[in-house]
Symmetry: D2
């Protein structure tokens, strides 16, 4: 099942390796011996969580339906224009960010606001609607970073 | 704009008056002088909140798209069958419930779990997908009840 | 570390076995072959999560400080009287409930509102402040129930 | 009542004017005609919300109790050292951030992570425990910014 969401993210222009880059950039100052491989492994763990998979499936479907004008109004315009007050993209991202607890919250906001790495690329693509995608990717990176922090600093935080 | 969501809810079989019944049942023991009119007015207030409107528009659109087989798999099956682990219905409902703070949380869970009032009717309708609708309605009722509690017990909770 | 929180809960009148009873009552209709042992094991899993431990430590400390009049006003009165609009008890409980995803939300609200099992006992004890404790216990039971649902219905939801 | 929390924040080294600076920095590029007066007025609005007041009262009390070694262990050490995995500071901040909906989430993370303005000052003060205070202030600023966005972009978001 995590292959389904991995392929879906790739189809939208985001590889796990690029999400792992975000995780590495967020955590390498805090987690001794962190490598890009470990960061990518953490992304894989996050993508195995059912709540994460469902948020990705839902958010990306809404982006794609908006792209093809297949959502009803006024929802269509709000998703298509990434309306600043829409908020449902943040709501789904929060569900992702929270899978390893609340410590992911600040990283999510930071990555999303700074349009770090792959988020900057997505942001400039005019050929697709990415209203949910950027928040989803930021949420995955924040959760994977939180997971690494748990592994690095605490023994019983596990799984 | 709250007329748009009001009409959408009615189209799905839920009038504001039936949501007000839930609010009245939840709060009449705690709020002196509560009438069904006051309860319905509180529902109106909740429906004026942009976050609530967007959650309704998004959730009901997903229900309707599932009904017409217009969502991609595996999302389609999960929404269509109201898969117990799906979770995105609870996620949207939480965004609604929270508009008057966290005190709405227990009422949301209670209304949804007990399938109170109009939720029981919706639940037995076989002609439409209501995966999001029941959580949305429970969330609106819980938020409207929280708003009445704020009015009854505290002066500065408002807006 | 989960022994620390286990002992703390026992000191406040709540054994894991009584929390397991709540979990069993919530889930035995849905999870084939569920026993009280399996329910209690699920409670143990929840208590190993760092976010859960921190919410318990924080909430119970606030209850105990209120009991000994060691919180500043106006916080003291709000905690001591379990003020209906306080809300921070629900906020901590949400952090617990969410450790296995949003599907625990409705069970949390239901258990808390119905004052099921051990919550009814706690509620009638006049010798201690339980403003946070009842929400915390309901949150643990809801999370443990969500974990069982993931195990029963989905292969890749796990930890 | 908002005077109580205003005085409490000032006692901890944070004036509303400094929180308004954060709001201004976050929003002046997006809200035409924004002044520091309008930003400060928005902070006042946020501080009138009961959920916000309760989160401030609770978080600051925990900071001050930790400062005086009046929390039980292991909670004391976690609060006193601002343990990276603690998470309850983020949990209370989320309750604040959410009062004007989910759009405040990214600003909260950004302000907190960047240690903007007054947060940088707080962060370097060795004489007091600020584990909750910095997240609380970031949450207030993010909520006040969200409120301004609602006013600027949408008519029916209010109260």
């Amino acid at each position: 099942m995590d292959e389904t969401v991995t392929r879906l993210l790739e189809k939208r222009g985001v590889t796990l390796s690029r999400i792992a880059d975000l995780v590495f950039d967020l955590q390498h100052a805090y987690v001794t011996g962190l490598t890009r491989e470990i960061a990518e492994e953490s992304v894989h763990h996050v993508l195995r969580k059912r709540e994460v998979q469902n948020a990705i499936l839902t958010g990306v479907a809404l982006d794609m339906l908006a792209e093809r004008d297949e959502l009803p109004e006024p929802l269509l315009t709000r998703v298509k224009t990434d309306e600043p007050l829409f908020g449902m993209d943040e709501v789904l991202a929060l569900a992702i960010t929270n899978v390893y607890g609340s410590i992911g919250l600040t990283n999510y906001g930071f990555v999303d606001k700074m349009k770090m790495g792959v988020l900057d690329e997505i942001h400039h693509r005019q050929d697709q609607v990415n209203t949910f995608l950027d928040d989803i990717v930021a949420g995955i990176a924040a959760a994977a970073a939180a997971r690494l922090a748990h592994d690095a600093f605490g023994a019983d935080a596990g799984s």
